[in-house]
């Protein structure tokens, strides 16, 4: 019994750390982008203030039970994803829960939040919400394909479906990172990351300010603050997952911060350099080159590692 309590306490600690780091990371990135554009930019803690302000608004309009549950599902999806990804390898506190085959669960948890939002936004009754959700799910289905192929390639390579064991297999040194042992899978997954982080050219689902459309059109006050919090948790979870699968994991928090920041800079740099795709262009993009790279990764992995 006390064992479970301790484990639960550790889970709370790691979710809190990931949430704070995720929120802070969004501020750091916004500040970096502002500097690129020759601006001073928002304070790095601006997102904390936004979340607090939205959470303490005096009124909130609801459209029914699913409208409440949408953001809740979303946060549950974010936390659920995080709980099965080891933040730090070989750490009692940040190890989180892991079991054989947890990567399948993680992939499903990633879809969970998007589906919850779809139900919530549909209850909002706003036509643009429905359009936004439709775009979001279509793009989600497209960028999951290369990511799924990359995961299959890793499963063949390491002969396991456990994130923890994949991280463990990369601990011998930099040359053992999946980045170097299976570059094709890494490239396919990184291209998929461009879509899942939602920066340009794949940001038509939830454009930052200028188009009043997207799944969150109708959400306000506490609902939007929950979604902002989840955005931070989910971003942190995704970055940690990529770090674990492809970049050798981390054994201390400083290493985690540096590696996840470096991974996050990839979609940021791409986003700062390219204009926006329409949704049909985005889907075609993912189903062409990244999918082919993913298929090649599976074939090569089968040839090399499945002897």
């Amino acid at each position: 019994m006390s064992d479970w309590l301790v484990k639960g306490g550790y889970a709370v600690v790691s979710v809190t750390v990931a949430a704070v780091y995720g929120v802070l990371l969004s501020g750091i990135i916004a500040r970096t982008l502002a500097r690129v554009q020759g601006r001073i930019g928002i304070p790095v803690w601006q997102t904390f203030i936004d979340i607090f302000k939205n959470a303490t608004k005096r009124t909130a309009v609801s459209h029914g039970i699913m409208f409440y549950l949408g953001p809740v599902f979303r946060v549950a999806g974010g936390i659920g994803t995080l709980l099965f990804i080891p933040l730090l390898y070989d750490s009692e506190v940040f190890g989180n829960f892991h079991f054989a085959g947890d990567i399948i669960l993680i992939i499903y948890f990633m879809a969970f939040g998007a589906l919850g939002m779809a139900l919530g936004a549909a209850e909002g009754g706003h036509p643009y919400s429905a359009i936004g959700v439709g775009r979001g799910l279509a793009q989600f289905a497209a960028f999951e394909v290369p990511f799924g192929l990359a995961i299959i390639s890793l499963a063949i390579q390491y002969n396991t479906l456990s994130v923890y064991e994949i991280v463990g297999a990369q601990q011998a040194g930099v040359a053992h990172w999946t980045l170097f042992t299976n570059p094709l899978a890494t490239i396919a997954a990184m291209l998929s990351l461009l879509g899942s982080t939602g920066y340009a050219p794949f940001d038509v689902v939830g454009p930052p300010q200028e188009i009043p459309t997207g799944p969150r059109t109708e959400f306000q006050s506490e609902f939007i603050s929950l979604m902002q919090l989840n955005r931070a948790i989910f971003a942190a979870a995704k970055l940690v997952l990529y770090m674990d699968l492809f970049f050798g994991g981390a054994t201390n928090l400083l290493e985690l911060m540096i590696k996840t920041w470096a991974i996050y800079m990839v979609p940021i740099i791409v986003g700062a350099s390219f204009p926006r795709y329409r949704i049909d262009q985005a889907i075609r993009f993912f189903l062409r080159v990244p999918t082919l790279i993913g298929i090649a990764a599976v074939i090569v992995a089968d040839y090399l590692f499945n002897a």
């Binding site: 502002a34 554009q37 020759g38 601006r39 001073i40 930019g41 928002i42 304070p43 601006q46 203030i49 936004d50 607090f52 302000k53 939205n54 303490t56 608004k57 005096r58 009124t59 909130a60 309009v61 609801s62 454009p207 300010q209 200028e210 188009i211 009043p212 459309t213 997207g214 969150r216 059109t217 109708e218 959400f219 306000q220 006050s221 939007i224």
Partner: protein, 210 residues
């Protein structure tokens, strides 16, 4: 809706709606909501002052002065001023210059969809007394008669610097707890509604846009 304990104290008439539409809109009368716990309210006001999400709705020609604020030259982001795509998620409504009769309807809808607390910055001389359009047949002269205004930035047009100074002043006022326009609107709801209905002839929307 959260906040007021007694729902349905007095129902709105919603006279402007015809049959199928009447089923889609709420008849509950909106109630003012006071901030609870003074010390906590000061913290909340600080957060509100530092996170101003401006509704990106150009209501008049003055809205052209809003765009440069977000560029490298003026960079309003550093003061915590950001654009927001929908009225639901925004808390500052900038009335960009003159408001025509047609725009007033949209202004009212957008303003009512924003959540309490909300702040209104009226930009340009036209919002004060009609400015150069004071005798126009389709321009309203005082925006203050239709929605409560927290802050005026006068000029024709005011430069972005003036608007930025206005935002800084608005932040000070929010921190002092002086910006209670949303509650003022609901306390004097009938007076504001009567004024609006005098101007908007084809009132085909609910009395309060939740």
């Amino acid at each position: 809706m959260r906040g007021p304990k007694s729902k349905n104290v007095q129902e709105l008439a919603n006279d402007g709606l015809t049959y199928p539409d009447t089923e889609f809109f709420c008849k509950t009368r909106p109630m003012p909501v006071e901030g609870q716990f003074k010390a906590m309210e000061q913290v909340r006001n600080w957060a509100r002052a530092n996170s101003l999400h401006v509704q990106a709705f150009g209501t008049g020609c003055g809205a052209v002065e809003l765009r440069p604020l977000m560029t490298a030259r003026y960079d309003a982001y550093r003061y915590g001023v950001m654009g927001s795509p929908t009225p639901r998620q925004s808390c500052v409504f900038v009335i960009g210059g003159y408001a025509s009769v047609k725009t007033l309807k949209r202004i009212v809808v957008s303003y009512e969809q924003m959540q309490n607390p909300k702040f209104v910055v009226a930009l340009g001389s036209c919002t004060v007394n009609g400015g150069m359009y004071w005798d126009s047949y389709n321009t309203i002269n005082r925006i203050d008669h239709y929605i409560p205004v927290d802050l005026y930035v006068s000029g024709c047009m005011p430069r972005p610097e003036a608007l930025l100074a206005g935002f800084v002043k608005l932040k000070e006022m929010i921190k002092e707890g002086k910006c209670e326009g949303a509650n003022k609107y609901l306390e004097n709801f009938d007076w504001y509604k009567a004024n609006q209905k005098k101007i908007i002839k084809n009132w085909n929307m609910p009395d309060y846009n939740w």
